[in-house]
């Protein structure tokens, strides 16, 4: 019994194991591929980010360069205009230069504005919004100028080489390096100062709550760093680069350091009192020239939610401060022209002002040097789309699903194939058993017939009684053979679906009486009592009479064959819904529960071995049930109380 399963399982394993192995390997490879894709996407994103950052930085630098050039140009113009032309410049500039909103001339000694007069609404508004700047006091323009002067004074007092040596231990020939470091530091410092400034600007209300003078800040250092960036334009510059380099280390000093330097000066102490712990306006060192040289700077202010930038210049040795207010929107408009447009990869750039939402821009470059509060923002293009394509390892999921479908279909096909093979094998075994059974069945009566025929032919039997008995035996065995052949033929017909029925009404009473009469001799011979309970006169079924006879024959045959030990075979009829049941019950050993249904399968026998004590081909019950079901009835087997088996044949009643 173990050879057959082994034969089945071997190819099954041969199919299953490689399939699962290949599936697992494919998944593993796909997972590796997914990792590679992720890494590639990450690299692309990283590269795109770096490129974007670089591009944004270039744009930001250009904008800062533009703005600082504008600022420098304006201050230069202010500085270079001789006194006699000054009034014309101040009067005409706002009308001729689109970038100039207003000009002013401020006399520190009188703490008064000499220009503009309060003769137009614009000028009155200008005087009003910057009143705090021109009034005097610690944080006003006066303070900015004074601080600037003090700074230049201090720088002038220090020997040129002094600060350089202090700020750097490097050799003097490394000045360029020192300068570039200084520029970076100055930019960082400027960023800090502008952060403060930007805070003031984006929160004008808050700033207004403070002493408004605190809003002002000086951006000299920022200016200086911007100049450092543009120092290749030395020819255009008013001041020599040697002076600049000499001055740069000052710019690297921290505010605290500067405060220390400044604090010993009594004038500074007395005139720049600190307020409410607020930081001093960050007055960056950036004086490009030593004391008694002209001083200049830029101030950023916010007023009523708007930002203003004012540039100022004071001639050598003090005197009236000339100034200009930038038309900031016009400057921004020009700056916008330097914002890159959408690139081929879809990267976007925008210039955002103070307080504007950044919409999660991955690249933000504050224009802290010249436009504190404004930020150049950028969003990546194609790289971002790649990212969205690969969200959650999409490739792996899809590929794994495909592999999964492949493996499952192969396994399912294998299962089907092996089930089919097993069914075919079972069928073949049944047929073999059938053939051997039928042969065996036929062999027994044939042997008997042959033996008696030979004995009779040899005329060895003299006794006429004996002879007639022998003839009867031959006749019986022939009938048995006929039944066997009939069953085999019927089975073939039923299998092919060629069995034809000629149904007619059959009254069960007479039919049962005839049945008992026909089988009583054979039963008596086997020592079995046939007990029939006659049904009522109305008991009638609609059935093909030949098939009914055959069903009864098969059942009684079975009952006599297997239930003979019980000594009794009961026949009775019962009315059921829609028909009649013919019950044949014996007191034999019964049918084991596991076989109660299977006995109706073709070729099935409870004892299937060739050494079985009872003969049979395993067809009788199969044929009987098929005949019953074909005609709207059924045949089932029950265990009988008190031992034995009961076969219930139901058939439809005669419909009127």
């Amino acid at each position: 019994m173990s050879a057959a399963p082994r034969r089945v399982w071997l190819p099954w394993l041969l199919l299953l194991v490689p399939t699962l192995l290949i599936g697992a390997a494919a998944l593993w490879l796909l997972w590796l591929e997914q990792q590679r894709i992720d890494q590639a996407a990450f690299d692309v994103r990283q590269r795109a980010q770096v490129a974007l950052q670089a591009r944004a930085q270039v744009a930001a630098d250009n904008i800062e360069l533009l703005v600082s050039e504008i600022r420098d140009g304006l201050l230069r113009e202010l500085a270079e205009t001789p006194d006699r032309d000054l009034e014309a410049l101040l009067a005409n500039w706002p009308r001729t230069n689109p970038l100039v909103a207003e000009t002013f001339l401020w006399r520190p000694d009188q703490a008064a504005l000499a220009w503009p007069p309060a003769d137009t609404p614009e000028r009155r508004a200008f005087r009003q919004r910057h009143a705090v700047l021109f009034g005097g006091g610690a944080s006003s323009l006066a303070a900015a100028v004074r601080q600037e002067q003090l700074q230049t004074d201090r720088d002038a007092a220090l020997p040129r080489s002094g600060p350089l040596a202090q700020a750097s231990v490097e050799a003097p020939e490394n000045r360029e390096v020192v300068a570039s470091q200084s520029v970076r530091l100055a930019v960082q410092q400027a960023a800090r100062s502008s952060a403060f400034a930007a805070k003031n600007m984006v929160l004008p209300d808050e700033a207004a709550k403070k002493d408004t003078a605190d809003e002002a800040y000086a951006s000299r250092a920022t200016e200086d760093s911007a100049r450092a960036k543009t120092k290749f334009k030395a020819a255009e510059r008013r001041y020599g680069s040697s002076e600049f380099k000499g001055r740069v280390p000052g710019a690297t000093m921290s505010s605290a350091a500067k405060a220390e330097v400044e604090s010993p000066a009594p004038a500074a102490d007395a005139e720049t009192p600190r307020r409410n712990g607020h930081p001093e306006p960050l007055l960056m060192d950036a004086a490009v020239v030593p004391w008694r040289e002209p001083a200049s700077g830029w101030l950023g202010r916010s007023d009523a939610g708007q930002v203003f930038f004012l540039g100022w210049w004071q001639p050598a040795g003090g005197g009236a401060v000339r100034g200009v207010e930038l038309n900031l929107p016009a400057v921004l408009e020009r700056a916008h022209a330097l914002v890159p447009t959408r690139t081929a990869e879809g990267a976007r750039f925008a210039l955002h002002g103070p307080g504007e939402a950044f919409a999660e821009a991955p690249v933000r470059i504050p224009l802290s040097t010249t436009l504190p509060g404004w930020t150049l923002v950028a969003w990546p293009g194609a790289a971002a789309r790649l990212e969205s394509l690969d969200v959650g390892g999409g490739f792996f999921v899809v590929a794994a699903l495909l592999v999964g479908v492949f493996v499952v279909s192969i396994v399912a096909a294998g299962v089907l194939f092996f089930r089919q093979a097993a069914a075919a094998a079972r069928e073949a075994a049944l047929k073999t058993s059938f053939v051997s059974n039928v042969s065996h069945e036929m062999k027994t009566p044939l042997t008997t017939i042959r033996m008696y025929t030979e004995m009779l032919a040899d005329e060895r039997v003299d006794n006429p009684e004996k002879r007639s008995r022998y003839f009867a035996t031959i006749g019986r065995e022939t009938a048995r053979l006929t039944r066997l052949v009939n069953n085999a033929l019927d089975f073939g017909r039923l299998e092919a679906g060629r069995k034809e029925y000629r149904p007619e009404a059959i009254a069960l009473g007479p039919w049962l009486a005839r049945l008992v009469e026909t089988y009583a001799p054979r039963a008596t011979e086997l020592g079995v009592r046939l007990v029939a309970t006659p049904p009522g006169a109305d008991a009638a079924v609609r059935c093909d009479p030949d098939s009914l006879d055959q069903m009864a024959l098969n059942l009684i045959d079975n009952g006599l064959k297997y239930g003979a030990a019980g000594g009794v075979l009961e026949l009775r009829t019962e009315a059921v819904a829609g028909g009649w049941a013919i019950v044949m019950a014996d007191r034999g050993p019964g049918v084991p529960a596991a076989h109660r249904e299977r006995i109706f399968e073709r070729f099935h026998r409870v004892d299937d071995s060739l050494t079985a004590t009872k003969q049979g081909a395993g067809l009788g019950l199969t044929i009987a049930r098929r005949l019953a079901r074909d005609q709207g009835g059924d045949l089932v087997c029950h265990a009988r109380e008190g031992g034995g088996a009961a076969f219930v044949l139901t058939l439809p009643a005669v419909t009127t």
Partner: protein
């Protein structure tokens, strides 16, 4: 310059004839070249003033562009259309905007330069500056515009200005930004003041920005400020179907420029006190008033009204009350020309004569500008939640003007006052809603800037 000649000839003849009869004193004396494309005039609400009392007078300094003789004799136009393509422009609006842009494009010829900038949260130049030669391709490009995103108005205008600037140095061009928006600027600088300051800067470069506000979502203060400070036009378009017409009207103006970069200064003699300018923005400094115009269109009058205090004078005294000087570049932006004009008044004891001689048109124009001022005030008051006060300002102004109109028997002025009265009642009843506010702002703008459409 036929029509102009006839015009000035007629004017000269009329003044001479009237002066000869002795009924009216010639109010305006001009010294200007006969072929000037611009006519400069000074007029008064009352050329004859009561004697012996201090008087308030309205001085009108008017500039009229003469229609060019030959239609092809116009300066080339450097036009950039800046289109809002933000999400709110979806559907019919963007469709009409596309048609309007194509309408504008078709009116140009190959001497002009056309460019088109579209903006949402980002800005891009759809059509870089070029002569409109391959119209089919350009129209295809314009028809491809779809709506999306936010409103980066400032960046859009900046980009437009940058595109114009590429041809700013070419002489003789009229530089114009035509901005269409239906939404609130929500990216970049977006206060009316910021945009106003930008407008000022652009005007100094000779760039005018015409703003077209579409629907009920745009910020009319911002759009009006930008147009006003850059001396462009401002339109309020409630229905997108009107867009092609508005664009065509705007192009009509732009293609009809007769003078550019006009600077006008008015000088008043000693004793005269300048009180204020009315309507159009001007710079008043002591006894000098100056204003500028970017462009002057053919057949169109632009003027400034100045209120002055005139010292008492004896009867029959004739004196010069204002001297004006206008300098401008011709249509093609070539050499600058200058015009001068003087305005004189006579004083009399005859009250009827004062009434009879009153300049009804100047009075009406004064009334309209005064109403426009009142409307702006009313808008500000209504914004502050003082609806009653807004209505009262308009009502009082209209009542005062109505009184004057009746006194001077000026039906046109009376009509202006009556209309204002009705509007005041409407404001009192319903307040100033979004649509009303936009309409009022646009009306006031049209009156003070003498815009035709």
């Amino acid at each position: 310059m036929g029509p102009m000649k006839t015009n000035s000839f007629f004017r000269a003849f009329a003044t001479a004839a009237v002066a000869a009869v002795g009924l009216v004193f010639p109010a305006t004396a001009k010294t200007q070249p006969a072929s000037a494309p611009v006519d400069l005039r000074i007029e008064f609400d009352r050329p004859v003033l009561p004697a012996d009392t201090v008087q308030r007078a309205i001085v009108k300094i008017g500039l009229t562009g003469c229609r060019p003789e030959c239609p092809t004799d116009r300066p080339p136009v450097n036009l950039v259309i800046v289109l809002d393509r933000s999400g709110s422009m979806g559907g019919d609006k963007i469709e009409q905007a596309r048609e309007a842009a194509i309408e504008a494009l078709r009116r140009l010829d190959r001497r002009d330069v056309f460019s088109l900038v579209i903006y949402d949260h980002e800005v891009s130049t759809l059509v870089s500056p070029q002569a409109p030669v391959d119209l089919q391709r350009l129209e295809r490009q314009i028809r491809g515009i779809t709506s999306r995103g936010n409103t980066a108005l400032f960046a859009g205008v900046s980009q437009g200005a940058a595109e114009l600037r590429k041809n700013l140095e070419r002489s003789g061009f009229v530089h114009r930004v035509l901005l269409l928006s239906d939404g609130l600027a929500n990216v970049g600088p977006s206060s009316p003041d910021d945009l106003g300051r930008l407008g000022t800067a652009l005007r100094r470069e000779g760039i005018a920005v015409t703003t077209v506000g579409l629907g009920d979502g745009f910020n009319e203060d911002l759009m009006a400020a930008l147009a006003q400070r850059s001396d462009g036009n401002h339109y309020y378009v409630a229905e997108s179907g009107d867009l092609p017409r508005i664009f065509a009207a705007e192009l009509g103006d732009v293609l009809n420029v007769v003078a550019q970069q006009i600077e006008v200064t008015i000088e008043f003699p000693e004793g005269v006190r300048v009180i204020r300018s009315i309507g159009r923005e001007a710079e008043c400094r002591d006894r000098n008033v100056s204003f500028g115009l970017n462009q002057l269109y053919g057949g169109q009058e632009k003027f400034l009204l100045v209120e002055v205090e005139v010292p008492a004078a004896k009867a029959d005294e004739v004196r010069t009350l204002a001297r004006a000087r206008a300098s401008f570049a011709g249509a093609s932006g070539d050499s600058r020309q200058e015009l001068r004009a003087e305005g004189r008044v006579r004083h009399t004891h005859d009250e009827d004569l004062v009434k009879r001689e009153a300049n009804r048109q100047v009075q009406t124009e004064y009334a309209a500008n005064s109403i426009a001022e009142a409307k702006s005030q009313a808008i500000a008051l209504a914004d502050a939640g003082r609806q009653e006060e807004a209505a009262r300002v308009m009502r009082e102004r209209s009542a005062r003007l109505y009184g004057s109109a009746v006194y001077f028997k000026n039906p046109a002025m009376q009509a202006v006052a009556e209309e204002a009265k009705l509007e005041a009642e409407e404001v009192a009843e319903k307040g100033i809603g979004n649509e009303k506010r936009k309409a009022m702002r646009a009306d006031a703008y049209k009156t003070t800037n003498q815009q035709r459409q």
